[in-house]
């Protein structure tokens, strides 16, 4: 058994046939029929480019496996499912770049996601995603963090932040706040400094914000990448419930790409309803602070900077120009990757590739060569990534391809150059302990 094989399952042809037919809506049926195999999507794919133009990496080839699956009417064996698993989870990051190059507008990422969904319904999904799904179902977050540990982490970060900014707080369950901030579970678990940086920024710009104590604070959605719409909807419902209870105007998403996609765009479809609040990504929020003169900088970063457009922030989130508006204010020497913006290549860590776990590391390093080459060509020393998966993947690429770069989120850049009014800072040495 190869190490990246899915957990053992019993194949039920009837169940597979059923899983396929319930998902094949009119749009998907049309897409399986109208693909002309023109090949215009081939060069758009980073897997295709990184793997010496292997025809098996052409997006339409991968997506049209759906057509094959329909034709088989459930008559599949173990080897066939393994090959589909390798393609749908291992050879595609559902970044939607190919969709932009299809003359028929076929959304091949949606087709691959549908294959994922069918596989997941039969228990054929990467263990990393399955474990996360179980955690979401039991604890409301991908890392099984209890409410007690979550709240204690927030209090701890508030306490440490007050050493520096005595008046700064991390408001929990503040009813009627303007925004409810939501985070990636990795932040409280391993990177609580990210929450502290957000709190610091919100204090400096005078934001009226809060975090919920109960489940609904984790905005990630790895169930989406496994095609488990039921759990995906459950995750968004938790966020919805907290936002309604706290009566906020906005749900703000941390510097994460897929969380934005799932809450802002997929969520209303899963829940079958519109939200009584707006969803805003950190990038939009930061740009707004700058535009309103609330966020100012003491200087610009002089080292050459490039920007990694996360697929779900730029191409699928519409914020490519918004990010560049921020960059204009923080970078002396900004260098675009080519191509960039909506046409940027996926970092190869997207679509759940990182949380799928170690069995997928080699593939994401191979396919990531396209991104590594793009970064190298800019000569930049800093790569800004407002997405945790891009952030980790570019860090891994940095090691793999010796890029000699530093990866930063926007918040980490702000931390270095943000103007903090004197009156907000801790004044005297002897006052330092007062916040505790």
């Amino acid at each position: 058994m190869s190490e990246d094989q899915y957990p053992e399952i019993t194949i039920s042809p009837e169940a597979i046939k059923q899983a396929v037919s319930t998902r094949m809506n009119a749009r998907l049926k049309m897409w399986t029929r109208i693909c002309a195999h023109c090949g215009l999507c081939a060069d758009s794919c980073h897997f295709y480019l990184a793997k010496n133009k292997d025809p098996r990496m052409v997006p339409s080839f991968k997506a049209q496996k759906l057509k094959e699956l329909v034709r088989k009417k459930g008559r599949v064996d173990e080897n066939y499912l393994q090959s589909l698993y390798d393609i749908a989870f291992g050879d595609c990051t559902v970044c939607r770049r190919c969709t932009m190059y299809c003359p028929f507008g076929i959304d091949m990422a949606v087709m691959v996601s549908t294959i994922r969904s069918i596989l997941t319904s039969q228990g054929v999904a990467p263990k990393g995603l399955q474990d996360a799904i179980k955690n979401y179902q039991e604890s409301g977050n991908q890392m099984a963090i209890s409410e007690e540990d979550w709240v204690e982490t927030l209090q701890w970060m508030e306490e440490e932040l007050q050493d520096e900014l005595p008046g700064a707080t991390i408001p929990i369950d503040k009813k009627g706040a303007r925004i409810m901030y939501t985070v990636n579970a990795r932040e409280p678990k391993f990177y609580p400094q990210d929450i502290q940086l957000a709190a610091k920024l919100f204090h400096v710009v005078g934001e009226d914000w809060t975090l919920p104590s109960k489940m609904g604070w984790d905005d990630t959605n790895l169930a989406m990448f496994a095609g488990d719409a039921k759990t995906a909807g459950h995750i968004v419902q938790l966020i919805y419930d907290r936002a309604v209870e706290l009566d906020v105007q906005y749900v703000a998403i941390t510097e994460c790409g897929h969380a934005f996609r799932s809450v802002a765009f997929e969520g209303p479809v899963w829940l079958g309803k519109d939200y009584p609040f707006k969803v805003v990504h950190s990038v939009e929020l930061f740009a707004q602070y700058i535009r309103e003169g609330r966020l100012e900088f003491d200087r610009k970063i002089t080292e050459p900077i490039t920007y990694q457009d996360p697929c779900n922030v730029s191409r699928n989130g519409g914020l490519a120009d918004t990010a560049r508006y921020i960059i204009k204010h923080i970078a002396e020497d900004f260098r675009e990757m080519e191509p960039h913006g909506n046409h940027n290549f996926c970092c190869s860590g997207g679509g759940g590739a990182i949380p799928m776990g170690p069995p997928f590391k080699r593939r994401r390093m191979e396919a990531g060569k396209v991104k590594a080459d793009q970064i190298k060509a800019t000569g930049a020393k800093i790569v800004i990534c407002p997405c945790h998966n891009c952030y980790d993947q570019v860090n891994d690429l940095n090691k793999e391809y010796n890029l000699g770069i530093k990866v930063k989120s926007f918040k980490e850049i702000f931390e270095e150059i943000m103007h903090i009014p004197e009156e907000l800072k801790a004044q005297e040495e002897e006052d330092l302990g007062e916040g505790k």
Partner: protein, 105 residues
């Protein structure tokens, strides 16, 4: 699965460089990994974190939150990151022989 031989010990490692079996861990592993994790000299404080990670993992089957590490060791967050530059989720867990944590890490 690739294997690593170091100071007479053999370790099976996954694609992310974590050992595949917690029971296969030994002190030599920590020595082997430290450099790639940006640590030149192992101190008692590194071992303190590693010990706590292992105890917690034995009891709970997952890695602890950094808050718990900080509380038990008395180290501030920044100091934990100074000890383990690639972080408590990646570097420290890898050295302690824990599997790569679930989720976006």
């Amino acid at each position: 699965m690739p294997t690593v031989e170091f100071k007479g010990k053999t370790f099976n490692v996954d694609e992310d460089g974590f050992i595949d079996d917690f029971n296969g861990w030994s002190r030599e592993w920590v020595d082997y990994v430290k450099e790639s994790e940006g640590i030149s000299e192992l101190t008692e404080e590194h071992w303190k974190v590693i010990d706590i990670l292992q105890d917690y993992y034995k009891k709970n089957g997952i890695a602890p939150m950094v808050r718990i590490l900080s509380k038990v060791t008395g180290f501030k967050l920044k100091y934990i990151y100074e000890l383990f530059p690639s972080g408590p989720g990646k570097g420290a867990c890898k050295m302690a022989g824990l599997p790569k944590p679930t989720g976006c890490v």
